[in-house]
Structure formats: C-alpha cells, structure tokens
Amino acid sequence: MVQASRLHVQPRRLHHKNRCMFKRILIANRGEIALRIIRACKELGVQTACVYSEADRGASYLRLADRTVCIGAPPPSESYLKSDRIIAAAEITNADAIHPGYGFLAENAQFAEKCRASRIEFIGPSAEAMRALGDKAQARELAKRAKVPIVPGSNGTIDDDAEALRVAKSIGLPIIIKAAAGGGGRGMRIVRELDKLKPAIAQARQEAMIAFKDASIYIEKFIEQPRHVEVQILADQHDNIIHLFERDCSTQRRHQKLIEESPSPAIDERTRLALCKSAVRLAEAAEYTNAGTVEFIVDAKGNYFFIEVNARIQVEHPVTEMITGIDLIKKQIAIAAGETLGLSQRQVERHGAAIECRINAEDPEQDFRPCAGRVELFRPPGGPGVRIDSHVHDGYDISPRYDSLIGKLIVHRPTRDEAIAGMRRCLDEFIVEPTHTTIPLYKQILHHDVFVKGKIDTGFVERTFRMQG
C-alpha cells in the first residue's frame, strides 16, 4: 500500500447548514444497526451512503444503501474507528449528516466535533453534553443538582479508617470498597459488619497497591441483587424533553445485556413515574439533545440510583419502539435536522409488553465463545407482534472481527405473560445452523420461574446457569 503525506489545507465548498431534512445520511456503522438506519432513512425519503470495511464487502445489507464506501481493512481500528476516513466518505458522497449507530464512534465527542467542523451534522447529542455525561464525577454532580438519586458513597477517596467508619455509618451497611484507580474486581471488598471494615480496607488497599500501584480507595453503598432499569429520553433542539418509559435489562451476563423488556416487571407505577421524571430532569440539567438513555440500578425495595447516561441509540431500542409505536431512529434524524419532537409527554402512550432477545453467535456451553463462519441456515420466526432486526441470512459469513450480535428478536403482546409465551414460541421456531447461538440459553431463561415471575437481578444468569468453560 502506498503512503499518504499531508499537504496544505484549502477551503472547501460551503455546506449550507439548513434546518430542513437531510438529503443524504452517511451511516458510520455495520451489521444490524446499519441496516436499521438504512431502513429508517428509506422510509423518510433520505438517501443513504454506508461505509464498510473489507471484511463486510459484499454483505447484503449494503445493497440497500444508495451508495457504499469502503473505508479500510477489517480491524475496527483500521476502518469503523477511522474518523477521518468516515468524514471523507461523507464528503465524497455529499452526505449532510452522519449517523454513528452504537459502539465504534457513537460516543466519541471528538468525532462529533470533527463532523460539525466539517459542516456535517452528527446525529446525536452535542459534544459538550457527551463530555459532561461521559465524566463520572461530572455526571454525578449533574445528577445531584437535578435531585436525581445517586448511589450513596464517599465524596472522592477515603483518607483514613476514621473517615471510612463515618461514611459507612452514614450511608449504612452493606458497603463496597473500590480501588480508585481500578476495575475488574481487584481491590474490591464488600463489608456487611462494621467490625470487619478496618481489615477489609487494609486488604483492599493492599490489593489495589499491587494491581494499580495506587492504594487509594473509595466507599459506596453496596446494592444487593440490583436490577438494571434504564429510561429512554428524546430531546429536541427546542428545549422539549420527554421520556419513553423504561427498559429492564437485568438479564445480563458479565455486564453484557442479553434480554431486555418493557415495562419493567420489578417496579410499581409510582416508582416508574419517579424514575422517568428523574431521567428527564437529568437530561435537562445536561442540556441533552437527541436520543439517550439514563441508566439506573434499582434495589429490592424499589429505591433507584443513577449510574450513567448512554449518549447514543442503544441496541435494545426496539423494545421501546414496540410499546410506544415511536420510531426512535426517525426521531433521531428529525431532531438532528432541527425539527421539533412533534409530540408531548402526554401523547406518549404505552401499550402492552415487549421482550427482546439478543441473538449472539456465541456458544453458551463453551463460555460464550464467539462462533464466526458461515451460517448455513438462518430462519427467524414470524407472525403477529414479532420483529426481526437482522442483517443475517442463509449463507451469511460472520466475521470474527466484530461483535457477535447476529440479530434481535422482539416480541410484543398485550401482557407480559403473553409476551413470554410468544417469545418461547419464537425461540422454538428460530433455526440458526450450524452456528452456536445464545438461543438455547434464552429458552431456559424464558422457562425459568424467576424470570417468569419478573424477579431477575443482574447476577441471576451467572448464578443460575453454570456454564462449562
């Protein structure tokens, strides 16, 4: 491959930043979400240009785009993460906006800024809102100001045992000690009795020192068997902010969401309302625009605590689309084009229950090892209230380069019980061969009493399904 050297900068023809619908949107993503965005654009009458890496050359979803641009070699760092090439692709295709999807550059504030500097609209929140919410301390501060509950804990690091004791007493047991520099469980200690606090701090500091060469620790309230409940937000550029209710994503494995549903079976109407209003307040405080998700953990008593904001569209957005009938991708595009939301909070209605299963090409019996290669048979289910979002078909070749999501199966029914019955039926129908998928695991979960009763917490899957490794 030849080398490129940078030359002089020259002013380019001006894009007129006009507040009307885009003429052509560049899709800076791949797979099912690229397909999802192409579909929304086609229905809006907006042309599409879709980037692709050499690994995705020939993928059938690309045929649905009006234009396609190869942007690099298979590794994401050589293609889907190459912001300059993506912006150049938008330039040569005369795209006036870029939809980043999720993952890759979706929450990269610098990329958003670059797009706008190139007079290409970035379909997502402002770089400022992204930065404010991306920083944990700033986000916590915003939440406090907006009177949104956060997990109680020390304000920053703990200096000595006396302070630790004071904090532990004030927030109440159990607490969790965490390494300030850390992650991955190292330097973590859960304390359930006050007289175990001192030795636990000593152990945590020692572990943190070894792992991170930094003995600083902080303390947080430990939430037992938490549920993951998140609120979908839509905000336009004219100060209208609404929520589209919640999604319960407690069915996780190692913080990877597997099954999402709405409404959450774990919270009552009062909590639902409070949670959703909290999310709107936070979005207002952050001057948030476009689609976003405010994540909370909910304890067994229904207390909820703000965790973080996902400043993008999410994998599980169809769950919300099913119960509200609102197309989130179309709304994202309309908002970015400067349109008003066009609906008030009171106009957002909720109908029935929706469940989504993420179909991953992974072998649950082999520690969820990804299964790349050719899918001989891909036969998704159909019928009433069944939605399939997938770029895969008989003969599709799964690249080992990217995440293992090969499709999303969403079922919408008048009630949660019916949605469970519908999802079971659909999972029974779904044929993917010879690729291993998470479908067999989902069949077990959908028949498990704890799931049926709506009592799942985020540790349920790992505790319950002992996988071979």
Binding site: M1, V2, Q3, A4, S5, R6, L7, H8, V9, Q10, P11, R12, R13, Q47, A49, Y52, E54, R57, G58, A59, S60, L62, R63, A65, D66, R67, T68, V69, C70, I71, G72, S79, D84, R85, I87, A88, A89, E91, I92, T93, S118
Partner: protein, 167 residues
C-alpha cells in the same frame, strides 16, 4: 468553485467494458447496477425464458449483491486481482477522498500512460477533509492504465493506476 472541468466522456464506456469483461469471466448472465439516479442493466446470452414455469436461465449466484458495483464513485471498486492483466500491479488508494490527477488545474497530470514511476514518484493527490494527500507509486515501472477520472471520488483499496513493473 469549479476546480476542474468535470467532463469525462470516455470513462463511462470504459466502465461498461470492464463490467462486461467481468460478466464473461465469471459467466454471469445478468448484472443490474444502481447508484442513486443512474442504473445499468446488462444481460448476456439468451434472455430468461418465461415459457417454462419456475425455471430460470440465470443461477441464483448472479443475484448475490455486489455492493462494490454501486460504490460511491459508481465504479466497480477494487476489481478482483484475477481481472487485472497478468503482470500489471495496481496502485491502490490508501484512503477515502477525491482523486486529483494534477497538482492544480493549470498543471499537467502527475503521470500519464507510459510514464516511468519509482516508489517515491507522486502519482496523484487525494483530498479528504480539505487536506490534499500526495500518493506515491510505491512500485517501479511504467503506468499502463489510469483507472480513475479527475475529481472522482475514490474509496479505500480502490485501484487508481495499473503499473507494468520494471522487469
């Protein structure tokens, strides 16, 4: 701003010729290409008969999508190496952008067919995000073919020139 005349009357025919060659090489009976407003439909041999119910002249393989065929430039991006005349080497685009054959509108092209190139010879510039990037040949030989028209968009990996290497 009109930086360059956008006339390119012959490249279209050239494109057609290449596609037809590909069809012959791979025994395709039908090719349909679409790129926004433009569309091309080519058929080889006998047209699919409607006289036998459910039987089609073209095999389903012909229906496999060819996204390269409706790429940004409307050109078949990165013609498979097999299609390149044996012995010729492609100079491929290392980036996405707009191809310029000359340093400015009043200058002659960096290279034309027959030009001798060395690995360091600048063969074109590609503009992306207002930056003009000089592209070097990276091989030694003579330019046998210029594959891209001036001011045309190019994608990553797209062959720009064919070079007959020095033997």
């Amino acid at each position: 701003m009109s930086w360059w005349s956008s006339e390119r009357p012959l490249i279209e025919l050239e494109k057609l010729r290449e596609i037809i060659q590909m069809m012959a090489d791979h025994d395709l009976s039908e090719v349909s290409l679409r790129d926004g407003e433009e569309s091309i439909k080519l058929r080889r041999g006998a047209s699919p008969g409607h006289d036998s119910v459910g039987v089609y002249a073209h095999p389903p393989t012909a229906l496999i999508p060819m996204p390269s065929a409706h790429s940004a430039a409307g050109t078949p991006a990165e013609a498979p190496t097999a299609d390149i005349e044996p012995g010729l080497l492609p100079i491929k685009s290392p980036m996405v952008g707009t191809f310029y054959a000359a340093p400015d509108p009043n200058s002659p092209p960096f290279v034309t067919v027959g030009a001798l190139v060395h690995p360091d010879t600048i063969v074109c510039v590609i503009e992306a995000m207002k930056v003009f990037n000089e592209i070097k040949a990276d091989v030694s030989g003579t330019i046998a073919k210029v594959l891209v028209g001036n001011e045309e968009p190019v994608e990553y990996g797209q062959p720009l020139f064919l070079v007959r290497p020095r033997t």
